[in-house]
């Protein structure tokens, strides 16, 4: 089914989600995934939408803008290619990278650059400056040829140059400490953890 990525930004106000999803519904679309946040009083939403038949991206964007005219929306629509896109880091492991330190222009760019050099894929990121203090929390996938120890050492050295502290921890630590569901051990334990003790 033709799928489109719709992004909408505007000054935050009550009713924007209602307006955007209403337009998509009336156009015959079905939202299959959505992420929305408000950042410094600015609303932003990204939706993946399926339609039973192909849509003109400009027409769809214009409809969202027109029906939400009282919100002064900025809208972009792109079509998802039909061919399956291979994942950027196939079957990697998910880690949480936390960076703390003083705020400087270019912090995020430099961190992202370093991660990109090592083949680390960012899948979720939140960063903010509170006065002079900078914090960044991001979920990343590590490629198989990069150990967390290696990335930790690399980022610690890199962080020192910029006056930032970088911490890399496995997702399972946060799952274990924040969710009451049973503790799980990661996939790599089954790959590397075949029984080695003869019974």
């Amino acid at each position: 089914m033709p799928t489109y990525i719709v992004t909408v930004t505007a000054a935050d106000a009550v009713g924007i989600v209602n307006s955007v999803t209403g337009t998509i519904f009336r156009q015959g679309g079905n939202v299959i995934e959505l992420s929305q946040t408000v950042l410094r009083d600015f609303f932003t939403i990204i939706l993946a939408v399926e339609f039973p038949e192909a849509k003109n991206t400009r027409t769809l964007a214009a409809a969202v803008i027109a029906e939400g005219s009282r919100f002064d929306l900025t809208v972009a629509v792109i079509e998802v290619p039909v061919e399956a896109v291979p994942p950027p880091v196939a079957d990697g492991e998910r880690f949480i990278l936390t960076v703390l330190g003083n705020d400087h222009p270019g912090n995020i760019h430099r961190i992202a650059g370093r991660l990109s050099q090592r083949g680390v894929n960012i899948v979720d990121l939140h960063a903010r400056a509170d006065g002079p203090r900078f914090s960044l929390v991001t979920e990343v996938f590590l490629p198989h040829d990069l150990s967390p120890r290696e990335l930790r050492a690399d980022l610690e050295e890199f962080g020192r140059e910029l006056g930032l502290e970088c911490f890399v921890q496995h997702e399972n630590i946060f799952l274990a400490t924040t969710e009451p569901s049973p503790v799980r051990v990661g996939a790599s334990s089954s790959r590397e953890g075949a029984a080695v003790v003869p019974h």
Partner: protein, 457 residues
């Protein structure tokens, strides 16, 4: 996406408040090694330890790297050696201890526990020979830790064994006099000893355990203290109930980290995961102290009235949080008041605030007991035995584990300083009031009968 606050909170536990896995202790059953021939016994023990624990260190390092959580110690606990080497002479027991010591060094563990006898009701010839070998074992091996269970609620208290241990402590202290009697720090005398305790010196792989199991000792005095302080910063008027809730939720998180690491290590080694022991185990480092938690709760002078109540609340809240976190909680799972290992408790002793009598009272509401207590070197064996009997009786009557790790420091008196070094810390030697005043009681010997389990008031 995880909430930034949650991520920073978990990160803070590791980064600022010293959350670590204090020990990954591999319990190994050695009963299949038993043989009347000493050489065969030693060879079988060596082979079995290497077979199970050969990769322990490497796997712990892999898991440490994967999760970024320090694993401070890797240890081995074995079947009580009195069972495994029952037919050996005292010299044979010493030879077995040396085998354990050597193999522990080869596989990269710092301590091996289980040079143990369970003599709560009676003792065999083998038990006697093991106990008589202890001064040699504790003074000539580096890594071997010993424990003797002298009482249970079901069986009562073996006073003959306790008096024998009083003499063992004297001899061991003399043989390690150049290190302030440090050999005694590797001997724990238990009541109701748990079979799956991962913490040394009292770890052993007890009855009913599998061939091999990985048990975890987590520790987070710093984390709990920080949680209490943070709560009181935000809400200085927090009630004790609110403080208990904060401790409980912190214990939950600490326990979960321990279980995660334990399951991962066990999975990679292909052995069973046993339990996570969520004891708050202090180290001499400032900020890693059970005493400091009590101070954060408002007992500024440790040993003051209120210390026992605060410790009881802390111990209970830790157990509640841990029990919710995991169905595999075991071992001791409470707050340790190991005096020389806890800088705040050691300071309280030095100031004269914390006395032996108050410590004994505190051990009635927490785990484990009179732990890492330095006493005058001229304390006689009968007085040491009576001290042990008092503590053991608290455990036996109250259906709980208690233990004694007491060091009569040769050539030193009350008020002098005993220095054990490293994780064992240091402390000012505590006086024993009315010492030698109960020798006749101890010399009656025999068994104090098991207590009544009804009419419990």
């Amino acid at each position: 996406m995880y909430r930034t606050e949650d991520v920073l909170s978990t990160l803070g536990m590791v980064r600022q408040h010293k959350l670590d896995v204090r020990t990954v202790t591999m319990g190994i059953d050695l009963l299949p090694c038993a043989s009347p021939d000493l050489g065969t016994l030693q060879l079988r023990i060596r082979e079995r330890l290497l077979r199970f624990a050969g990769r322990l260190r490497a796997v712990c390092e892999e898991v440490e790297s994967r999760y970024g959580i320090p694993i401070v110690n890797r240890r081995i606990a074995v079947t009580p050696i009195a069972r495994v080497a029952a037919s050996q002479s005292a010299e044979g027991y010493l030879a077995v201890a040396k085998t354990l010591d050597e193999v522990a060094g080869e596989v990269g563990v710092d301590l091996v526990g289980g040079f143990t006898a369970l003599v709560q009701k009676g003792w065999t010839d083998g038990d006697r020979r093991l106990i008589s070998a202890l001064p040699d074992v504790l003074s000539t091996t580096k890594r071997v830790c010993s424990s003797v269970n002298v009482g249970t609620t079901a069986a009562g208290i073996n006073m003959d064994a306790i008096l024998a241990i009083g003499h063992v402590l004297k001899q061991t202290a003399e043989r390690t006099a150049d290190h302030d009697g440090f050999g005694c720090a590797k001997l724990v005398v238990f009541a109701n000893a748990p079979t799956d305790n991962p913490f040394m010196a009292g770890a052993f792989h007890g009855e009913g355990e599998a061939d091999c199991a990985v048990n975890i000792g987590v520790s987070g005095p710093g984390v709990v203290k920080a949680a209490v302080e943070d709560l009181l910063t935000v809400n200085p008027k927090a009630t004790l109930g609110e403080i208990a809730e904060e401790i409980k939720s912190t214990a939950f998180r600490v326990t979960r980290v321990g279980e995660l690491i334990g399951r991962e290590v066990a999975s990679r080694l292909g052995v069973a995961f046993g339990i996570v022991d969520l004891s708050l185990a202090p180290t001499p480092q400032v900020g890693d102290s059970v005493g400091e938690i009590l101070q954060a709760m408002g007992v500024v002078r440790l040993g003051a009235p209120g210390s026992t109540a605060a410790l009881a609340m802390l111990n209970d809240a830790v157990k509640k949080g841990g029990s919710f976190a995991s169905s595999s909680v075991g071992g001791l799972s409470g707050a340790f008041v190991a005096v020389s290992e806890d800088s705040a408790l050691a300071e309280a002793v030095e100031r004269g605030d914390l006395t032996l009598a108050k410590l004994e009272a505190m051990t009635a509401v927490c785990s484990v007991g009179l732990d890492m207590i330095a006493v005058p070197g001229d304390t006689d064996a009968e007085t040491l035995a009576a001290l042990i009997a008092d503590e053991v009786s608290i455990g036996v009557i109250n259906h709980k584990t208690t233990a004694v790790r007491v060091i009569p420091v040769p050539g030193k008196r009350a008020g002098d300083r005993a220095v054990f070094g490293g994780l064992f810390g240091e402390m000012v030697i505590l006086p024993i009031h009315a010492a030698s005043g109960s020798a006749a009681f101890v010399h009656h010997g025999g068994r104090i009968p098991a207590p009544l389990s009804s009419l419990r008031n």
